[in-house]
């Protein structure tokens, strides 16, 4: 059980700013007033917890969880890693949800217009819960890069979207994972909303030859860090504690 202390303040200069004109959609969707800084209250220091009973056996297997007539096209990969907090402690019981395009760079979505083919055997969504050591893994195919309407010739590097629930609503995070060695990471207007190169590098999964399944799947390692909390030793107890 984690401490009851409040969370370290979020380092807003490490995250993307709200207003990033190179990513055009942010221009009209970015608040202009400063955020109101609020010391954590119980409302943010608590959060929903999801039981393993919610998760089906194929939820972390994107190769099989939508397949109709066979396996999806594409390079078979395993993505694994740990969810930690800023104190480098594992976050057990975290719900991870992920979604991605197929091997050709096409999403299964009615608003998606990219001409690459849909894969009848690929849905593109999955989820899992971290174990006692904060570990997770899932199996999928490597997503393709895709073009998107921003500049006339902008492309997203191959990526997997991640949504993470830690133990408190203050830790709520959505981010994206990229693949080691992809030159397109450094040309992407969404990646470049992250101000610090070291921040971008945190989102690049490493190819891990020791974790591959020989003759089957490559493996990528991706650790995720959520906000950490203070220890309670010098903090006033909340009323009712």
């Amino acid at each position: 059980m984690s401490d009851q202390g409040s969370f370290y303040q979020r380092d807003r200069s490490w995250h993307p700013a709200a207003f990033t004109p190179q990513y055009k959609t942010s221009v009209l969707r970015s608040p202009q007033y400063p955020l109101l800084s609020l010391e954590n209250t119980i409302s943010e220091m608590t959060g929903p917890r999801f039981g393993h009973n919610k998760i089906g056996p194929l939820d972390n297997d994107l190769i099989r969880n939508y397949a109709k007539t066979g396996d999806p096209i594409g390079q078979r990969i395993i993505v694994y890693g740990r969810v930690l907090d800023e104190n480098a402690r594992p976050v057990p019981g975290a719900l991870l949800e992920f979604w991605q395009a197929n091997a050709g760079g096409r999403y299964r979505h009615k608003k998606e217009t990219y001409l690459a083919a849909l894969d009848p055997n690929f849905g593109g969504c999955g989820r899992t819960i971290t174990d006692e050591e904060g570990r997770y893994w899932f199996r999928t195919i490597k997503p393709g890069a895709y073009p998107w309407p921003n500049g006339v010739n902008d492309w997203r590097p191959a990526h997997i979207h991640f949504s993470i629930f830690g133990h408190a609503f203050a830790q709520r995070l959505i981010t994206q994972m990229y693949f080691e060695g992809d030159p397109m990471i450094w040309q992407c207007p969404i990646v470049s909303t992250i101000p610090d190169k070291a921040g971008i590098e945190m989102l690049i999964a490493s190819l891990d030859r020791n974790a591959t399944l020989p003759m089957d799947s490559l493996a990528y390692k991706f650790d995720i860090v959520l906000r950490g909390r203070r220890s309670t030793m010098f903090e006033n107890r909340m009323e009712g504690n």
Binding site: R108, C125, I190, V225, M238, E239
Partner: protein
């Protein structure tokens, strides 16, 4: 020799993008058969304690256009002001109320809607009671990091007036951006909470 602190930086946020629903609410975007039911759609059951209410609204961009691709999450206390979370140390919350919900904004109208219960009051750090409120988290294409705000209830004037969080808002006219007006729908109290990302009516967002 000094002792190096073992600390990590938080993973930077990235936009949820236009297809967040594939991961969050796949059934809603017709990806069926992967799992039965999208998480967070239903908050209340027959045994949940508390007053049934509806909350609804839209999310507007700086041009006044409603977002049709946003995802809204809410987090709230039960009718007695307790959170259904292992981090809740003040008592045991209603086991028939999770307190967390998730809904997309409608692809045509941009409206979101939750059927829930009215939360009880929760103490601030110093023990004073906050007014009843629901925490909101908004993500969408073009939003680089999820936005936290709170819904307060238009028919809780006395509680709102003494809420230590609302009191922190320096520009008093902006308090109104957090207060949902009450009406009635299907015989249920209905609170409309429109969120403005920008412009004169920009909602107060929190750095929590």
């Amino acid at each position: 020799m000094f002792q190096r602190l073992k600390t990590l930086k938080e993973s930077p946020s990235q936009t949820a993008g236009p297809y967040v629903h594939i991961g969050a609410t796949p059934n809603w975007v017709e990806i069926t058969g992967v799992w039965e039911e999208d998480l967070g759609l239903v908050l209340i059951g027959p045994d949940t304690r508390g007053e049934r209410i509806i909350i609804k609204g839209r999310v507007f961009d700086g041009s006044g256009t409603p977002l049709k691709d946003a995802l809204i999450e809410i987090w709230q206390a039960d009718a007695d002001g307790l959170y259904n979370s292992p981090e809740e140390r003040r008592g045991k919350a209603d086991p028939n109320f999770v307190g967390w919900g998730r809904q997309p904004t409608d692809g045509v109208t941009g409206e979101y809607r939750f059927e829930t219960i009215k939360p009880g009051r929760v103490p601030y750090k110093d023990g004073r009671l906050m007014a009843p409120h629901i925490t909101f988290w908004i993500v969408a294409r073009g939003i680089n990091i999820g936005l936290h705000t709170r819904l307060y209830f238009g028919d809780e004037e006395a509680a709102n007036a003494e809420c230590p969080v609302l009191a922190r808002i320096e520009h008093k006219h902006r308090v109104q951006t957090l207060i949902a007006a009450r009406s009635e729908e299907k015989g249920l109290p209905t609170y409309t909470f429109d969120i403005h990302l920008q412009g004169e009516k920009e909602t107060v967002f929190f750095d929590i």
